[in-house]
Symmetry: D2
Subunit: 353 residues, 4 copies
Amino acid sequence: MINVGIAGASGYTGVELVKLISNHPETKLCAITSNSYKGRSLTDIFPSMIGFGRGFGRGFENMILEDFDIQSLSGKIDLMFLALPHKISMQYVPILMEHNIKVIDLSADFRFTDAAVYEGAYQEHTSKHLLKQSVYGLSEIYRDQIKASTLVGNPGCYPTSILLPLLPLLKEGLIQPDGIISDSKSGVSGAGRSLSLSSHFCEANESFTAYKIGNHRHTPEINEILSIHSQQKVSITFVPHLLPLTRGMLSTIYARANDNVTEDKIRKAFHAYYGKEYFVRVLDKNMYPAISHVRGTNCCDIGFHFDEKTKKIIIISAIDNLLKGAAGQAVQNMNIMFDLDDAMGLNSFQGPL
Amino acid sequence: MINVGIAGASGYTGVELVKLISNHPETKLCAITSNSYKGRSLTDIFPSMIGFGRGFGRGFENMILEDFDIQSLSGKIDLMFLALPHKISMQYVPILMEHNIKVIDLSADFRFTDAAVYEGAYQEHTSKHLLKQSVYGLSEIYRDQIKASTLVGNPGCYPTSILLPLLPLLKEGLIQPDGIISDSKSGVSGAGRSLSLSSHFCEANESFTAYKIGNHRHTPEINEILSIHSQQKVSITFVPHLLPLTRGMLSTIYARANDNVTEDKIRKAFHAYYGKEYFVRVLDKNMYPAISHVRGTNCCDIGFHFDEKTKKIIIISAIDNLLKGAAGQAVQNMNIMFDLDDAMGLNSFQGPL
Amino acid sequence: MINVGIAGASGYTGVELVKLISNHPETKLCAITSNSYKGRSLTDIFPSMIGFGRGFGRGFENMILEDFDIQSLSGKIDLMFLALPHKISMQYVPILMEHNIKVIDLSADFRFTDAAVYEGAYQEHTSKHLLKQSVYGLSEIYRDQIKASTLVGNPGCYPTSILLPLLPLLKEGLIQPDGIISDSKSGVSGAGRSLSLSSHFCEANESFTAYKIGNHRHTPEINEILSIHSQQKVSITFVPHLLPLTRGMLSTIYARANDNVTEDKIRKAFHAYYGKEYFVRVLDKNMYPAISHVRGTNCCDIGFHFDEKTKKIIIISAIDNLLKGAAGQAVQNMNIMFDLDDAMGLNSFQGPL
Amino acid sequence: MINVGIAGASGYTGVELVKLISNHPETKLCAITSNSYKGRSLTDIFPSMIGFGRGFGRGFENMILEDFDIQSLSGKIDLMFLALPHKISMQYVPILMEHNIKVIDLSADFRFTDAAVYEGAYQEHTSKHLLKQSVYGLSEIYRDQIKASTLVGNPGCYPTSILLPLLPLLKEGLIQPDGIISDSKSGVSGAGRSLSLSSHFCEANESFTAYKIGNHRHTPEINEILSIHSQQKVSITFVPHLLPLTRGMLSTIYARANDNVTEDKIRKAFHAYYGKEYFVRVLDKNMYPAISHVRGTNCCDIGFHFDEKTKKIIIISAIDNLLKGAAGQAVQNMNIMFDLDDAMGLNSFQGPL
């Protein structure tokens, strides 16, 4: 049994972690924290949880959101998930690590290798020394490092949807690192539970728009990882959009293949990387991902179209932004860190609706 | 030409009034006010308006939201629409009336005849003396009084959807005033543009719930009007619900007919009241209203099912909560006050989508 | 291990059964049938299932939809779920029972005790002799009979949402059997996967309407069960509506309490019936069900408002129409028939989104 | 007064034309045809139209859908809109023209200059001789030709959203004709009123997917027009997607500017082409189109982001697919053909909701 704590349990990502940890056969949820709702129970914040766990040892009514207090956490938990805003995470992580508590941080604070890149996009980094030991938690790509790690910087949702399809092709030298475009679309839950006009029902419903063109903070995260694996500086064009639906994300990625590349070579590369992976599904020719196919699952679906004459490749990937894009991948990383099957607690099949 | 001002033009109801007045052939929009956004243009708040009116004399870019200032309004406008919260309206109305500006108030402040009923549901009424001269703006029922009035208390959205179908039957003695139930459902725009968790996209989308059971403030408004027309105290059971859509409202109303009532008598009563009305459509047997049929129109659709054996009658009504339920009926009332056709500026046909 | 077959596996209810049975720890899915898609795999029909079960012993790619063939089923399965249209079910049930295969039928064919009532609403019943031995599968109310049964007529979705809240009050004599009204609202998945204009996206989206007023076939089903438990003929007023969402159902029920009934007595009755039930959650005072709170779960949430002066009671219930309203309750009934915990395979917690 | 006929009036585009023509001050709707619903009234098919026009001279109840019959049309109408599937249109057009009836055809049949391109994407063209005289109805670009024309091939929705932003930049030599990508997203109404699984509410709702990658028939239409205006063969990459909303379309277009191009030159080009146009709104820097800003209007909104260092340009355009993408642009073309203001009957302002 892994004793688990979740910081920021009252947000959409935090409560998704609560759900996954509660359904996981090898974990025990021992502590939950919240800044906004401390002292209240989870069922106060999420009435859908009322009564759940009755007689089944979960009892969400009795789970009280607390302040983050290292004295109370120390010795009680093996692993802490941080579902907190960036800047807050970097304050807690050193303290947790001193107390030998492993950390999976869902903020951006430990995703970067180069502190300067982080600081260019966010703000001063006050725990730079930990960046060397933190591992980027893109499970399928960094599995070995994650297994050995005590601190994981869990990837952003957009980066996950873009890196999983691109990395095999870039690493195998099948596509050109220049001129890559990702036209990405996210459901509204990606913006969290905080109130804002763009998440107001009447504004988001029956609409669709691009936002933060040219300055979304996931761009440097994507570029850093792509550059590391291409051994050259990569700079993609990334345009995020807001979909009128709750959960799900789809990226349509445009790239150019190198000479002599064939559809078959592309397919073989995907299968070499993901053929044995539970959560990456490479679709057959002429099949493309849909958000409904991955909603409620930890899957990343990948489909592609290749024009051998023009060498243009169009790759489509879809994930559930709250699962493979956040809490699901975090639990997958926990499984890897604790030598469990990747899919444990994540493999209940979700139907088509 | 009627010179019009709109107070509270930055809310959903206010901007709906701006839209209607801008499209109306006999009005000129001369002043708009806003507490939250004063000094800014309408197109700052609503980018969908950008460029509209260019070359057509409307020029929303140049319409600046101002403070409510009677010196600037006096002599400039003939009529003021108040799309303000209750309590604020009752401060402005006496001032406007002193300056001979007619008022259509969309708050609850001037809907009640009996100040005590108002005060039971809202708060102290500081302009009680005006309640005698204010007219309840249910256009089809109070047309003669509205025509002669200088102050109209525009009805609430739920009351409009409930009173229009019930009043003909109650006034003609066809149904029992006891035991009436209205199970009503509203789109999210009814809650306005202010941010709240219940209007957050992820909370309202794919959900449906009842709210304020037993204590919604529209209940005393409905009861007061029903009681006046039944010449006895009527107290309905009213349960509002929140629909996962932007615009529209539907009420399913349950009542019991008196002895000797037939389906034919019911239909004849509806036709006597509404047969010549442009905005109330009484549907044929076995046809029932749908929100999509009234969205974007000022119509109230009414359909009913009558069981002659049990004497139970089920009446369904549908309106667009922002039009017949608010801004549309307000403009209809303006038309009546200024001796124009009810439908002027409101009769462009909206298609099925 | 229970060996299970599912007939009609290509519909929304059928595939929901496939999902539940696949995730259930004590069942094995041995046969799936479909009339429209025989010879094709489940993943052909539902691409969201592609790749699922890889390496986990489920392998939906290899599950082929077959004709219903008793020779192939006999000896292979212990239990058959029939997710078929009425009239088809009554042809298969006698055959299955002759071969000692237990049946949970999700059509209306075996829900009625009185064949005449069935025939009044549907058509001639060709297996009347089995009605005596079939049990109405409202799990919490008929648990003992279900446990002993070999044929369960699984309740309709609307009846489940209406009977669960009403039966405790009627059986305990707390409400009057006369004049009960249920204003019920269902998501679009209730209409199934067959194409129809009313399920066309552009027609259902942003709309809401009542349908089949006075002649919905669930009315006699509800009335028969209510009458049995009230020991008098009960005839409710039932109006179904179509919500613009995929999954979920909410019923707002209006009744009148008997003299001397108090809020406390009502609450105690609910707790006496459901206090130990996993899937019926009785909410605290001033809390009301929402579809988002039950979506993805097998729960029926119940909240109520009681006015002691007028004796009027308003009860709200919410279920997921595909789970407690169909496939979930069917699996719960299987658990009961095979002496497993009600919640087995149904108790994974679903988060708020 | 222009006497107008509409063929295919029972589809979504057809009925949108009925709406626009009914609200237009200078037209009279004289004939409507439908293959599927002949003999029935418009209000049979679209109950939202019931009662509309009562007392206002429109009377949709009395508008009967007829067979296409040239004898009955000849002499009665000046202009026919054809909202028919391709292949059907090319049969009717020669007949209409022989009878001196002007035609605006909303199918693909008369959009192409080169019959071979049409035949590559569709099927044999049986009225090739008319292609020379037909004009491509992209109003702002082909105004002069439309004015002089008797046959207009109204553009597809995707082409409209892509050509309007690209043509000024290509014609002025500001961007490279190679390597242009359009990632386009359409609401479900673009697929029409015919039933299909992909337009089934439960399949489209809460989902998003790409479709017809590499083989959508709008690609050759776009390429032909771009090639004509670039004086070289242009071949764009076009990926259409399906949005979970009813009305609206947004295209995100990626291109590369030529050397020496500046943001200012791009903006000036847009203003030179569209500064005096009523229906093309070029947004200020850092503002981007949203579907909600154009829904219900005939506008095409254009915003762009330009990186002077990399010379990459991202252009976003949004239209209402049923208006500027179909019926609205058709009416605009009618206005041009009959020397009326472009905006007549199309300029009522739609609010933000």
